[in-house]
Amino acid sequence: MTMSDTHKTLLRGAKVLGGEPRDVLIEGERIAAVGTGLDADGATVLDVAGQILLPGLVDLHTHLREPGREDSETVLTGTRAAAVGGFTAVHAMANTFPVADTAGVVEQVWRLGRESGYCDVQPVGAVTVGLEGKKLAELGAMHDSAAGVRVFSDDGKCVDDAVIMRRALEYVKAFDGVIAQHAQEPRLTEGAQMNEGIVSAELGLGGWPAVAEESIIARDVLLAAHVGSRVHICHLSTAGSVEIVRWAKSKGWNVTAEVTPHHLLLTDELVRSYDPVYKVNPPLRTEADVMALREALADGTIDCVATDHAPHPHEDKDCEWGAAAMGMVGLETALSVVQHTMVDTGLLDWTGVADRMSVRPSAIGRLTGHGRPIAAGEPANLTLLDSAYRGVVNPAGFASRSRNTPYEGRELPGRVTYTFLRGRATVVDGKLA
């Protein structure tokens, strides 16, 4: 790592949160100064005039697949992909093999993250043993472990039993935890292959109705209100879900929500190709849903963007739709998709992007060193973006071990040029350091 030995770096002319050009001096692990005409004073000087400086991005929803599915991703390859995408912290989902439902597994993942050095890895603990929805996992033990788990989720499966969900919401209050719900009513989605609508009717693929997501969200915001806990809704995907979250927030309830980049851009029309690269859970919805999600992210109803980065080996996508795995990789394209759908459309400015991709996800996960202001004395977790760049997505160049991107061949704006994790560059000139 060429930059790792450099203790001082001067970013010359960066547009801090998209604002006026500033010089930013990084010294050791922290930002030493932000100003104009700063003296280089022995620092490595990077001329980054015109580039956007953001706080290091934070992902609340990442599948790193280790332990168990190292053929699709490992903590090392996943955090390298995260760094390339401008992330300095990711939350590693619990649906590994074995499931991250004990202190032992979350500590292992946490330690692998520390060893990787590319990005902080904050393990998410399973809510129930084996993600089976029957019996609470040892949530307290996972919180008390070295991993310090605060976010719990059975992601991939819904905590559908109302009593288990209520108990989990109540229990994690003891250590300021949050339950991140994968909202999917299981009976309504048996055999579900894609969004239930006009396209599914024509293609003859089993429908995943919006109501299966919305009914669980409605129940859970009411439960969270009833027991005075906080609940987080994973990968919200429908216009109706937006309405429910907006209503819950208007009541002052402690509800947060995330949206994936792909749900901000892609629709179920793409499924007409029967190409499993578009198979994802929750499924791609309609244009009306996409527009409602963008609007909700802009007005803050949806708190943050989370990638739901879901790597799969080639053979699990190189097959017929019905046999294919659900999920898309997203770490390396997330910021580009957000620029394309939110910034270039005028819905969000760069301060807003910093808020939705760093500040708020850090707050939900209770991370202390991330999502901080870009100011002297703060940890130097930073991302530089060349927003003028236009490029065609080529998965062959991904740092992730998997290639299942829905954006192959698509032109997207923006390119992360530098990522700094506590002052050390993990990405230099768009490439892994």
Partner: protein
């Protein structure tokens, strides 16, 4: 004509009429002592069946053999597929063996589309039924049967089904036959009404080029053809309808309902029939029921499809005449 037959929606009116007319020419072969044409001699047709369907498979097999093609039957059961071989590897194997056409039946909607667009094989792909998506040759043979009965002159050769009213009754939600028929019949100008309990009508049906009714009695009197779909008894267990008897009462075709159909109207069924469920024995065995005729027509239609996809440049009739003069 396109290179593959994946969906009835891919067929233009002219394509569809060409297939029907070609089938009409080829059907005349069936009346001759030697039913075979040399047209596809040396070509290989693979029947790739991931789902049991003896009726459809032997229909394609008979069609290919009457055109002198070499036929390979590949059934997923008892083969490497049941040991976990992927569709891709199966396709690559068939390609290596030199398949000119692959007739595929698969339980997953979209599998034929995937096979045709993935680059795994070069041959023509014919969809012989995929999941709950489509079954285009069934729709073609149904249209062929309707044209013969409902268009009086010259068995309808050269003509479409403009203005004819077709009612399709039953489990529309899970039916690939219904989907293909709706597309093809709309292309041919027919007016289609789907009849089913609301639970068996797909969410999103409003975009289809047809009407939907929940009341069979309201439409049965003004239709030229009634197509009864097979309804699996197990659907009852998933609460699609309360009991078999209630289904049969409300949506089954019995003698009384048939008597209220216009005199010229026909009763169709793609088979296999559930006698006593969607159709009574009285109706199934009546002169108005074309179920057996549909089977015979299926061979002619599949001959026409294979003939046209595998590059019959001359008309089928010309080929037949050449053969006769030998």
């Amino acid at each position: 004509m396109k290179r593959h037959l994946i969906s009835a929606a891919d067929l233009s009116r002219d394509d569809a009429v060409l297939i029907l007319d070609t089938a009409e020419e080829l059907a005349r072969l069936a009346d001759r002592p030697i039913k075979k044409l040399p047209t596809l001699r040396g070509r290989t047709v693979v029947n790739l069946f991931f789902e049991d369907s003896t009726r459809t498979r032997i229909s394609f097999e008979a069609a290919a053999k009457r055109l002198s093609a070499d036929v390979i039957n590949f059934s997923a059961k008892g083969s490497s597929v049941s040991k976990g071989e992927s569709l891709k590897d199966t396709a690559l194997t068939l390609e290596a063996m030199g398949a000119d056409a692959v007739v595929i039946r698969h339980h997953a909607s979209g599998a034929p589309h995937r096979l045709a667009t993935s680059g795994w094989i070069n041959g023509a792909v014919v969809n012989a039924g995929d999941g709950t998506h489509e079954h285009p040759t069934q729709a073609l043979l149904d249209a062929f049967t309707m044209r013969r009965h409902l268009i009086p002159d010259a068995s309808g050769v050269g003509q479409d089904l403009a203005g004819r009213r077709v009612t399709i009754v039953g489990d529309i939600l899970h039916s690939r036959v219904a989907r293909s028929n709706v597309h093809l019949l709309a292309t041919l100008g027919a007016e289609v009404t789907l009849v089913a309990p609301p639970t068996l009508v797909p969410f999103g049906v409003e975009s289809w080029p047809c009407e939907v009714s929940y009341d069979l009695d309201a439409v049965v009197g003004k239709t030229d053809a009634v197509m009864m779909l097979r309804v699996q008894r197990e659907r009852m267990n998933a609460a699609f309808f309360p009991t078999e008897r209630e289904y049969a009462r409300r949506y089954g075709l019995d003698g009384d309902r048939m008597a209220r159909m216009p005199e010229h109207a026909i009763v169709m069924h793609p088979g296999p029939m559930n006698r006593g469920m969607e159709i009574t024995a009285e109706v199934a065995d009546s002169d108005r029921c074309t179920a057996v005729e549909q089977v015979a027509n299926g061979v002619s239609i599949r001959m026409a499809v294979l003939y046209l996809l595998l590059g019959g440049n001359e008309s089928a009739a010309a080929t037949a005449r050449t053969e006769e003069s030998k």
